[in-house]
Amino acid sequence: MKSNSISRLGFATLTLVGHLGRVALFLGHIGRVAVRRPYRLRRLVNEVFDSGVLSLAIVCLSGATVGAVLGLQGYTTLSRFGAAGSLGAVVGLSLVRELGPVLTALLVTGRAGSAMAAEIASMVTTGQIDGLRMMSVDPVDFVIAPKALAMLIALPMLSALFISFGFFGGYLVGVELLGLDGGTYISSLEGSIDFQDDVAQSLVKSTVFAALVGTIATYRGFHAEPTSAGVSAATTGTVVVASLAILLFDYVITALWSV
């Protein structure tokens, strides 16, 4: 009985290590075909359109809403201490350091990552990936790499747009609605944010999250069971694993940055 549970632990560990190894090989494969001719720019542009441009509306709208909520919540708390003038700093720092990269990555995981995994998984299910192999076209080169790279390009930009729209949302609530001075808001915002501590951290975070989402979505899709249940499992798995990975890496990057 006891040896049974120990061997189950061993099996789980081996499965995990096997997964990590396959992910590493998969990543190496993507990296190899990405730097090798042909570059497949046409497919890359189309993928940037699918995961970047089509996510624009939800990302900008969420950014403005989150900024507005931060403005409202921050104002209520800060005005208790007579420090409503620091509203810009509160909105700016929370958006740049945490909410911008993390929420954008979560939104893009749900909006584009899941679609990516489902598309690849249904290509596996309907034999299109095998068809590519039969024509001696490397499916990783033709299908996977453009999708993963598009995520890497689109997510940092979406995150920067999210943050900018968040500033605007905070401005709308703080200045237009609650009557704070516009100059105070903007100077407190710009004065509190540092490039090295805050903006660079934000960009590094969103790039790492982009790599995570791109890898997990394409890996789960590509290694899906060729059944309809496999497609749904790949989609669900992508959203769950990518969301957890984003939050975990967010903590790790924040902790490492302040060392």
């Binding site: 940092p156 920067a160 915002l189 903006v199």
Partner: protein, 155 residues
């Protein structure tokens, strides 16, 4: 997949907007800017800088003219603060630098009070006169001690 000029154009716009947002965050908000040569760099030493931090503003009569670029401890164990100022400024050698607080709970900044000498400070020179930060805790401590002593004397 067919080439589609409209789609390419939209993706191009998206990339431009994204790069624009990143540039806005880095340059306007993050304060990453190219500093040309010849910025006026002055040094001021203080016994106590309180909560002064790099990038704190430097002001003359309340107008911002530069910022704190570095804070280090000198061999005499005083705080050595490097100020990066507008190169067009002409400050007399008897300029005084003092650490002030904007408002009761506000951030600390350095206020410069120009003196009356004919000779001007050049880049890399040190400001001779300085006032340290006022620490409210220390003031209260002094006040409480003095009050205590007064009571002793009365007895």
């Amino acid at each position: 997949m067919q080439p589609s000029p409209i789609r390419d154009f939209i993706v191009g716009l998206f990339v431009l907007a994204g790069l624009g947002a990143i540039a806005y965050l880095s340059i306007q908000v993050g304060g990453l800017s190219y500093k040309g040569p010849g910025g006026l760099e002055l040094i001021a030493s203080f016994d106590e800088i309180g909560g002064l931090a790099p990038r704190a503003p430097v002001a003359i009569s309340g107008v911002k003219v530069g910022q704190v670029s570095r804070i280090k401890l000198d061999p005499q164990l005083r705080a050595r603060v490097t100020l990066d100022l507008d190169p067009t400024l002409e400050l007399p050698v008897d300029t005084r630098a003092s650490i002030r607080t904007s408002g009761l709970l506000g951030d600390q900044f350095i206020a410069l009070e120009p003196g009356a000498e004919e000779q001007m400070l050049r880049s890399g020179e040190e400001i001779a006169f300085s006032d340290s930060a006022l620490s409210i805790e220390r003031l209260i401590g002094k006040f409480v001690n003095n009050a205590g002593m007064d009571d002793e004397e009365k007895k």
